[in-house]
């Protein structure tokens, strides 16, 4: 090993604590980067593989009833690779020892056992026997939620009849990755199930022998999907078609896409923030570290080492630190990515996880870190190296200290000499002081980003379920029902208040933009269902026109007063026009609302409702479940408390994982930045402080001079840190917007307090660690050497 390399390794060992702090910061930046990108890549690959292997359909259509013979004509549509007809029905479940309402979707599977499309991924048990009419395969999530095993029995209300069903297996399906109850926002595995039953048995139960009410298509690649959909809609129209949809609009796939999009958006911003901050601080720290070696740079140059050799010498040292940071970051990132992807695999009920790390991701992370370090080093070494060696070896020209602004305005009598030293030192190198403040502020802001999300979640829950949607139970009917059903519900024992609604699937169009959603007709001035304005104050629905979620307004580019086209995706598939009457604040989902009567008029129908919101006496709730379950026209029952719980669970499992990782990493980064700052300041001022000790100052007094500076810079950094934190949170929120969630920036006092505490604790801990070194200052050496 050359003497220069020897020096590098010894220097590295000597500064190991600082090197470790820097490596940790890089590790955190790289790990977050790797975690997000690898999770995202893996989920995309898993989904693609799953969809392909299990032949997920491209087009989905439901209808009232069509003869099986129509399948030939559907399959003959140009571009259709295969078509599969099915019978699909909503059912109510009756589970022993589970009084709460549970519903399910019953989907037929071909009797020949060959699943061409949306093939099941059997997890347990076997396939249904086409000869048996009581066998079902149930969705795995539901099976696990209730502990059902093959051989168990449960009851379901099928077409008005209570039937015993034998579970023969559990399975996953690409069609129901996201298992959502109709109208539900979040998966509820205990109260919603998908069952698969033999086509023959299901056909008989629903009077669909030789007929179907659902068809799925897989298209040849390169086919124009909307052409196929138009032709399919034409074919199904006489049979009560509800309008075919493409894969992008399929419910499970769409929710999955939304989730992926949100993850993608977070993956765009989080790693950038982390790696960016790590790079910035690496640059600053390394720059200062190298500047301290000014004399050694001069000595090396005096011996005849050229600039390149000197730069390379320091660069090697830095790159070794970066190397350790990057390698541990990659390992940690892959580990966390695997964990996060596994959480998602469970969460989405994917059959397997295809975990991938694209080599490009590793190269990117390494490149960004190495570039930041290299720039920091090269600039710093160049600053020292461009000096003539004679100049560099001379002590730096006595720095020009001036009286500080505070002293100029006459406050000096309040400052002791040491305090003046602190203030003048800060003011002497304003850029360096600013960079230090900025570094600490970034760390402070970063801590806030890890903490604000739980507050946001509670706030959203509060708005969604305590201010806007206040029902205890919501029920949906099998099909649109006369409004007078309201009175029957009102008469039920335990029901305190009823508000009815009409929901209809639509596609809204404005100019070239369109969005598929539903219009909900609600009673004006309702007390259970309330629409909120931007200030979260309830508003009264206008007597005519449609009110949109503010986010939907933005998506369509409409303002109140615009006329939009409504394509009704039900019944006669009419196309109407309606005026946008206003926008409402909603954090969840994308909806449109009308006054109930106005919606009935738009649909050219009499007083008709799709369901009702109930306020109930909590003591009677369980009894009421029983009554509701027995009502044949009730297709779905949702319990508000359950929605809240599901919501919490969903948020906790996904979003809060980042919060946790983010918090831990940002704390490490905060500490790394502050500790390094303190150490470098000590090295820069060690000689001066030792001289003061020689002059008779106590340890406490010189500690005050050194740590006082750190303290002032830390305090200055906090307000800036809070501003940066708010800005970072805003960036995250803007990036996390999807059709499903618009997360507001809610920063509670405890988030600020937490960030400030972390920074203070890091500063104090760094101060104590440095203080120990102050005690070891070599006073004799100061007397013996120059300056």
């Amino acid at each position: 090993m050359t003497a220069l390399n020897q020096k590098m390794w010894r220097d590295l060992w000597h500064m190991r604590a600082q090197a470790l702090a820097i490596a940790l910061v890089i590790m955190c930046g790289v790990a977050v980067y790797m975690m997000f990108i690898s999770t995202l890549d893996s989920l995309h690959l898993t989904r693609a593989t799953y969809y392909e292997n299990n032949r997920f359909a491209d087009v989905f259509a439901s209808l009232k009833r069509a003869p099986e013979g129509l399948r030939q004509r559907i399959a003959a549509i140009p571009g259709v690779e295969s078509a599969e007809t099915r019978v699909v029905a909503n059912i109510n479940l009756d589970i022993i020892d589970f009084p709460e309402p549970a519903t399910g979707l019953l989907v037929s599977v071909p009797d020949d056992g060959t699943q061409h499309l949306n093939a099941l991924y059997l997890r347990q048990g076997r396939f249904v026997d086409p000869g048996r009419d009581d066998e079902v395969i149930i969705s795995e999530a539901f099976a696990e939620a209730h502990g059902f095993k093959p051989g168990d029995t449960l009851f379901a209300i099928i077409n008005g009849h209570r039937r015993a069903l034998t579970i023969v297996g559990s399975a996953l399906s690409p069609e129901y990755i996201h298992q959502l109850r109709p109208g539900g926002m979040f998966p509820d595995y205990k109260r919603f199930a998908v069952f698969w039953m033999s086509r023959n048995a299901l056909g008989q139960a629903y009077d669909m022998d030789g007929a179907f009410n659902n068809v799925v298509l897989r298209l040849l690649s390169g086919t124009n999907v909307s052409d196929v959909i138009d032709r399919l809609d034409d074919l199904l129209e006489p049979y009560g078609g509800y309008g075919a949809i493409e894969r992008a609009d399929q419910r499970s796939n769409r929710f999955l896409a939304e989730e992926f999009l949100q993850l993608q958006n977070l993956a765009n911003i989080f790693p950038v923030i982390f790696l960016g901050i790590a790079a910035f601080m690496l640059n600053v720290v390394i720059g200062r570290m190298v500047t301290l070696q000014r004399e050694q740079v001069a000595a090396l140059k005096a011996f005849g080492y050229d600039n390149r050799a000197v730069v390379w010498h320091f660069l090697k040292l830095v790159l070794i630190i970066v190397f350790f940071g990057v390698v541990s970051g990659i390992i940690l990132g892959v580990y966390l990515g695997n964990k996060l992807a596994a959480i998602y695999t469970l969460f989405f009920r994917l059959p397997y996880l295809a975990f991938v790390i694209e080599p490009g991701v590793i190269i990117e992370a390494t490149f960004i870190s190495a570039l930041a370090a290299t720039l920091g080093t090269v600039f710093a070494v160049r600053r020292a190296a461009v000096l003539k060696p004679a100049e560099a070896m001379r002590p730096e020209p006595p720095t020009i200290y001036r009286k500080t602004i505070l002293e100029h305005i006459g406050l000096q009598r309040f400052f002791s000499q040491p305090t003046r030293m602190i203030l003048r030192h800060i003011e002497r190198r304003p850029v360096k002081s600013l960079l230090t403040v900025f570094g600490i502020a970034l760390a402070c802001g970063l801590v806030m980003t890890g903490r604000f999300q739980p507050d946001t979640v509670s706030y959203m829950i509060d708005v969604q379920y305590n201010i806007a949607h206040r029902e205890d139970i919501s029920i949906t009917f099998n099909e649109p029902t006369a409004k007078k059903a309201q009175y029957e519900l009102q008469g039920l024992h335990g029901v305190e208040h009823v508000e009815v609604f009409r929901a209809v699937p639509v596609r809204l169009r404005f100019q070239h933009r369109s969005y598929r959603t539903g219009i909900t007709g609600v009673e004006p001035g309702g007390d259970i269902q309330r629409l909120l304005d931007a200030d979260l104050q309830p508003i009264r629905l206008p007597a005519s026109g449609v009110v949109l979620t503010d986010y939907l307004g933005t998506l369509l580019g409409v303002r109140p007063g615009d006329r939009i086209t409504v394509e009704i995706l039900e019944g006669d598939m009419a196309i109407r026009e309606v005026t946008v009457a206003g926008l409402v604040k909603e954090y969840l989902g994308v909806s449109a609302y009308m006054e109930l009567g106005a919606l009935n008029r738009l649909l050219h129908e009499g007083p008709t409702i799709s369901g009702a919101y109930l306020a109930v006496d909590s003591k009677m709730q369980t009894a009421l479940y029983g009554t509701l379950k027995k009502m044949p026209q009730v297709a779905g029952i949702a319990v508000r408390e359950q929605e809240i719980r599901n919501y919490n669970k969903t948020m906790r499992e996904t979003m809060l994982f980042y919060s946790y990782v983010g918090s831990v990493f940002s704390i490490i980064i905060a500490f790394g930045i502050i500790y390094n700052n303190a150490r470098i300041t000590l090295t820069e001022r060690g000689r001066e402080l030792a001289s003061l000790r020689v002059l008779g100052m106590t340890r406490a007094e010189i500690s005050y001079i050194l740590l006082g500076e750190l303290g002032i810079l830390t305090l200055l950094a906090m307000p800036l840190g809070i501003i940066i934190g708010e800005w970072l949170c805003m960036m995250i929120v803007i990036n996390a917007q999807t059709d499903l969630f618009r997360v507001p920036v809610i920063l509670e006092l405890d988030t600020y307090a937490f960030a400030v505490t972390i920074v203070l604790v890091s500063a104090i801990a760094s101060g104590l660690l440095v203080r120990r070194r102050l005690d070891e200052l070599d006073l004799i050496a100061v007397l013996k050497t120059k300056e």
Partner: protein
């Protein structure tokens, strides 16, 4: 005058510094020749410009005006990389505060220079030359000041330079250690024939030189030749 050829020719050398808000005229029109193999002491009080002159001779700094030649090399027009090559190939330095690399042992400090030299002597041999053959693997912190300065001398001579430049080599040392260091420098000058320039503000040291050049206020105040050089051991201050 000396019968050997001149190695350095300096003409009208000037150097101006800006130290903070103060401007310092360190050299004001110096003319000087140094000859092959001679031992020169540059004598003057602090601020007389002797360090500046040495730095310019050694290629550590460039003059503000005037010229300085080393053989065929015009140092006053050299850029940084040419000066680096010049230092690497021709010059050995000894500094007042040694400037040893604290993280390297005595042997490694010498190796730092021999590794980039054309015809170096072995680090062990160089250290033996200064009487430190026994302390090869000691770190600077484990050596006394005199020993550290001897390591620095070994480091300077190990590449067998044509020129040895010493900036106050005894400035930080007590008398007997200082004499010891001067003996090593004189020995190198005699045995290797290295042109040696020592700067000091200690007039006594002039007695061991071939020539003493007095500097004052950035100008040459006088030159004297010693008919009879003393041995370093005869010096007392």
């Amino acid at each position: 005058m000396n019968s050997n050829p001149a190695v350095f020719n300096a003409r009208a050398l000037s150097k101006t510094y800006h130290m903070g808000e103060v401007t310092v005229e360190a050299l004001r029109g110096v003319d000087m020749d140094l000859y092959q193999g001679e031992f020169v002491v540059l004598l003057g009080p602090s601020g007389s410009g002797k360090s500046t002159l040495l730095n310019i001779l050694g290629g550590l700094d460039t003059p503000t005006s005037g010229s300085v030649r080393y053989g065929d090399h015009d140092l006053s027009v050299y850029d940084d990389s040419a000066l680096t090559r010049y230092r690497r190939e021709h010059v050995g330095f000894v500094f007042q505060f040694y400037n040893l690399i604290p993280s390297l042992t005595a042997r490694e400090n010498v190796a730092l220079v021999t590794e980039i030299a054309d015809k170096p002597m072995a680090p062990e041999k160089a250290l033996a030359l200064v009487g430190l053959g026994e302390r090869l693997d000691h770190f600077p912190a484990q050596l006394s000041g005199g020993e550290q300065q001897r390591v620095a001398i070994a480091r300077a001579v190990a590449k067998q330079p044509q020129v040895l430049l010493c900036d106050e080599p005894t400035g930080a040392l007590d008398v007997s250690t200082g004499v010891n260091v001067l003996e090593v420098i004189a020995e190198v000058n005699r045995r290797l024939g290295t042109t040696t320039v020592v700067i000091t503000h200690n007039a006594v040291i002039g007695d061991i030189a071939d020539r003493v050049i007095h500097l004052s206020d950035g100008q040459i105040a006088g030159i004297e030749c010693n008919e009879h050089k003393k041995a370093p051991a005869e010096l007392r201050w």
